[in-house]
Structures are given as structure tokens and as C-alpha cells.
């Protein structure tokens, strides 16, 4: 193979990789957009149901502005701890205890000064 052919093959090959992944990106973006829109419509239809909780839980929900994730035991109270630090602490605790994080219930995390 001569150098000119090698140069053309190299440029063409790089373009093929780019084109392949670019088209794949478009396909995934379309797929993602479809699922996002589907998720939004699902959330809208679920919202009225969430507005009718059992009487015992009403005060707790009123205190919190953020939505509660499905299956969640509620919000953890953070004292002088950022969200990211809290996430790290919860992950470390789960890892140390060798328990899945969704099986643990964190009530509060407080920075010890």
C-alpha cells in the first residue's frame, strides 16, 4: 500500500467511524426524546393520584417541595450537608453494610463539627 492510499484510507476510515456514531447518536436522541415525552405524559396522569395521599401522610408531604421517588421512604433531613455529600455518605454506608441502598432508610445526616 502506498502512502497516498494509506492517507485516503485513514481519512475515509475516520469519517466512517464519525458517520456511524453520528447516525447512532441521532437514533438514540430520537429514542430518548420519545421516552422523555412518554414519561412526561405518565407523570401528568399520575399527579392527581399523588394529590390524594392517606390522611396520615399529609403533613409530611406539605413540608417538602421536591417530589418523592417511587418506593422512597421519604426525604432525608440534611443538616449542613450538601446533596452530593449526602449521596456519597449513603453510598458508603450501603457499601460498608453490604446492603442495597434501596433497602436502607436514612432519617437524617448531620455534619459533626
Amino acid at each position: 500500500m502506498n502512502i497516498t492510499d494509506a492517507g485516503i484510507t485513514a481519512i475515509f476510515g475516520y469519517m466512517v467511524v464519525f458517520a456511524g456514531l453520528l447516525i447512532l447518536m441521532i437514533v438514540i436522541s430520537v429514542m430518548g426524546a420519545y421516552f422523555k415525552s412518554k414519561e412526561k405524559t405518565t407523570v401528568k396522569s399520575v399527579e392527581p393520584v399523588q394529590k390524594k395521599p392517606s390522611p396520615n401522610k399529609i403533613p409530611k408531604l406539605k413540608k417538602v417541595n421536591k417530589p418523592v421517588a417511587r418506593g422512597s421512604a421519604g426525604h432525608v433531613k440534611l443538616y449542613d450537608v450538601s446533596d452530593k455529600e449526602a449521596a456519597m455518605i449513603m453510598a458508603i454506608v450501603a457499601d460498608t453494610m453490604q446492603k442495597p441502598i434501596n433497602e436502607l432508610h436514612f432519617i437524617s445526616i448531620r455534619e459533626v463539627k
Binding site: A6, T9, A10, G13, Y14, V16, L21, S29, M31
Partner: protein, 408 residues
């Protein structure tokens, strides 16, 4: 029984005598190299799961095989001349696995799995089952970084042609820049099997050296301000998307480049087993038991190809240098497109995630995370870098598929 004669025969047949016959000293050099590789694998922890096996395969083949007149020792574990006949169109044993099975040593038989492309594909099955494509699905633009980071593959390919390698050999050398061991082995066994030893060792060594190779380039090509960028958290990807993704990629990429079918097919099948939620046993098997078994066979049989008389050559030195160039330019390619994305997004994308596009999962992503945190301790780039990182796996498979389509 003539004891002296027996002793003489034993001494003459021993490997120690082999060091003084023809190019036997080369075996001694290779044995020392295998010790060095064992040291790097065990003490320095350079890709130990594969490097220890490769190093021991190298040791075994060079203590058991002393050539005399181009013919292997009778008790050799690996016979390169059998594989030469296997690849020779004019030989009566052309593509005859029966000849290998009948006359080969233990490592010849294990090497059949490499030659047929079985081991790299099975490794990809395990890699697929271990990979979470969620970060890529959350940020599809990552695919462009994975594509950009294949620059080293094609630059090294061009460089290899300039240095006098054939097109097939150059393609195999270039793919080192994909930073993907199984892909490099897969392509090399198809195009330039005689270069498998140096290419595999260069690929795995440089992958292990990523924490040393990438940071200087990352600092050189990015400003402090760029490295400090904190990226927004990615959206949550639904289970359905994760299940559909491997099917879409398999269909799309294999239709685009049919030669990628063994690698992409296995990668996506492994991922589908992981994500679909109804094949947990299979996912667990390919992630652990199968992956470990194949790693045992792959390492030792790749090591077996480092026969002294073929490995110790100027070509090996060129391959090692070109491999390093490929790695560096792949990193540079990813970083440059990362910088472009930083500009186009108005400073929302940290260009450091671009270097993770060189595959080498998850080490390259970890390097991005470490460098990002050095610049800004509140920076958490790991999940953002995992997107380009897994995109790099697909990108290097496409690059390999292209080179295979051109040269096969």
C-alpha cells in the same frame, strides 16, 4: 544402560543447552522479559488479570521451545511453524485445524480460540453484561467523543504504512489506539497474526499506563477554567430504553458494517442479558464465570505467540512506538472534540470527558474524574465520562470493522 550416554542425552535435550544453540540466547532475553511483565502485572498491578497470563504464556513458550533449523523442539507447547502452514495458501495444511490438533502442543490448542476470534467475542459478551450504557443514553452526544477518540487508530495506521508495514499489518498496529484489547486481538488475528504478540502486549501495557499517559495531555490541551467546569446531572434513563438500546445498536451497526458482527453482536447480547431483567443467571455467568475462563485462555495463548525468534525484532520496537503514538493521538482527538463541545455548549461541557472516549473502560473515565477533581474538588465527572468511555468501545469496534472490510 549407559549412564554417561543417558546423561549426555539429557543434557543435550535440556533447555539449558538450548540457550547455546543457534539463537537460543534470544529465549533467555524473552524469559527475562516475561519476568519483567510478571513484575508489572503482580507488583505494579498493570492489567494483572491478563498481563500475568500473557507473561506466563511468554515464559512457558520460551522455556519449552528452542528452534533448531527453523523447527520447534519436540516437546514445545507452541509451534509457530504449524500456524505458518495453517496460513500458507500453498500448504497442504492450509486452514487445517486437524493438523494443529494432531501435532500441536497445549498452547497451540488453546490458541485456536484466539485464531478463530472466539475468545475476543466471548470477552465482549462479558464486557456487554458488565457495562451500563445509561450515561451514553442520557447524553447521546458522548458518541461523538467516542468517535473523535479513534483518531489515533488512523494516524498510527498511516504512520505504520510510512514505516514500511503492509496495509494489513498497519491496520492491526493502528487499532492499538482504540485502547480495546479484545478488539486489537480480534483484528490482528484476522489481518496480521504474526504480529499478535507485540500488538497484544503493547495494547494491554498502554491500557494499564493510561493514568500516566493521559494526564499530561489533558493538562496541555485544556485550560484550568475548562477543567473546573461542573456538569449538570444526567437525566434518568428508563429501563425500556436500556433494553431497546442493545437491539437498536446491534441492528444498526451490523447493517452498516457486517464485519463488526462478532464483536458488536456479542457486546450487545451481553448487555441485553444484563438489562432485560429475565436472564439474570446468564448475565451473571458471562460477567463472572465465562469471563474468567476466557481470560485464562486468552492471556496464556496470547503470551504463547511471543516466541523469541519472532518477537525480538525491530518490528516489535516500531509497534511499541506506534502504539504509544496511537494512544496519545486518540486522547488528543477526544480532548479536541471535548473542547469544541465546551465552546458550542457555552461552557457547560467539561472537555476532560473527551479523553475517556479512548475506550479502556473504566480506567479512562476514572482518569477524567481524577483530573476534574484536581481542578475543582466539587467536580464529579465519572458518570459523564462513562458515556464517551462506552461510546469508545462501540467506536473502536466500528474502526476495526472498517479496517477488516478494507483489508480482508
Amino acid at each position: 544402560m549407559d549412564i554417561l550416554e543417558t546423561l549426555r542425552t539429557l543434557i543435550a535435550d535440556s533447555g539449558f543447552a538450548g540457550f547455546f544453540v543457534e539463537e537460543g540466547y534470544k529465549n533467555l532475553i524473552m524469559i527475562l522479559i516475561s519476568f519483567l511483565l510478571l513484575y508489572l502485572g503482580i507488583v505494579k498491578k498493570f492489567e494483572p488479570l491478563l498481563l500475568v497470563g500473557i507473561a506466563f504464556g511468554c515464559l512457558l513458550v520460551n522455556v519449552s521451545n528452542f528452534f533448531s533449523g527453523g523447527v520447534s523442539s519436540p516437546d514445545a507447547l507452541y509451534h509457530p511453524e504449524l500456524w505458518d502452514a495453517f496460513l500458507d495458501h500453498d500448504s497442504e495444511f492450509y486452514h487445517s485445524y486437524g493438523n494443529i490438533m494432531a501435532n500441536g502442543g497445549l498452547l497451540d490448542i488453546l490458541y485456536i480460540g484466539v485464531k478463530s476470534g472466539l475468545y475476543p467475542s466471548l470477552i465482549f459478551l462479558g464486557v456487554g453484561a458488565m457495562t451500563d450504557f445509561g450515561p451514553l443514553l442520557a447524553n447521546p452526544k458522548s458518541l461523538l467523543l467516542g468517535a473523535a477518540a479513534q483518531m489515533g487508530v488512523f494516524l498510527a495506521f498511516f504512520g505504520a504504512v510510512c514505516l514500511g508495514f503492509t496495509g494489513e499489518e498497519s491496520a492491526s498496529i493502528g487499532i492499538i489506539g482504540g485502547a480495546d484489547g479484545p478488539t486489537a486481538i480480534f483484528l490482528t488475528t484476522r489481518l496480521a497474526p504474526h504480529l499478535l504478540g507485540p500488538i497484544a502486549i503493547a495494547a494491554y501495557s498502554y491500557m494499564a499506563l493510561i493514568p500516566m499517559i493521559q494526564p499530561p495531555l489533558m493538562k496541555l490541551l485544556t485550560t484550568e477554567k475548562e477543567r473546573q467546569v461542573v456538569m449538570e446531572q444526567n437525566r434518568t434513563v428508563s429501563k425500556t430504553e436500556k433494553i431497546i438500546f442493545p437491539i437498536v445498536v446491534a441492528v444498526f451497526v451490523i447493517l452498516l458494517l457486517p464485519s463488526t458482527a462478532p464483536l458488536i453482536g456479542c457486546l450487545m447480547l451481553g448487555n441485553l442479558w444484563k438489562e432485560c431483567g429475565v436472564t439474570e443467571r446468564l448475565s451473571d455467568t458471562v460477567q463472572n464465570a465465562l469471563m474468567n475462563i476466557v481470560t485464562v485462555f486468552l492471556g496464556i495463548s496470547v503470551g504463547a505467540t511471543t516466541v523469541a525468534s519472532r518477537f525480538l525484532s525491530l518490528e516489535t520496537l516500531k509497534i511499541v512506538c506506534l502504539g504509544l503514538i496511537a494512544f496519545c493521538f486518540s486522547t488528543v482527538g477526544g480532548l479536541l472534540v471535548g473542547k469544541l463541545m465546551y465552546k458550542l455548549s457555552g461552557g457547560k461541557i467539561n472537555p476532560l470527558i473527551g479523553s475517556a472516549g479512548v475506550s479502556a473502560v473504566p480506567m479512562a473515565a476514572r482518569v477524567s474524574q481524577i483530573e476534574g477533581q484536581k481542578a475543582n474538588p466539587k467536580n464529579f465527572l465519572l458518570m459523564h465520562a462513562m458515556g464517551p468511555n462506552v461510546a469508545g468501545v462501540i467506536g473502536s469496534a466500528i474502526a476495526a470493522g472498517f479496517l477488516l472490510a478494507v483489508f480482508k
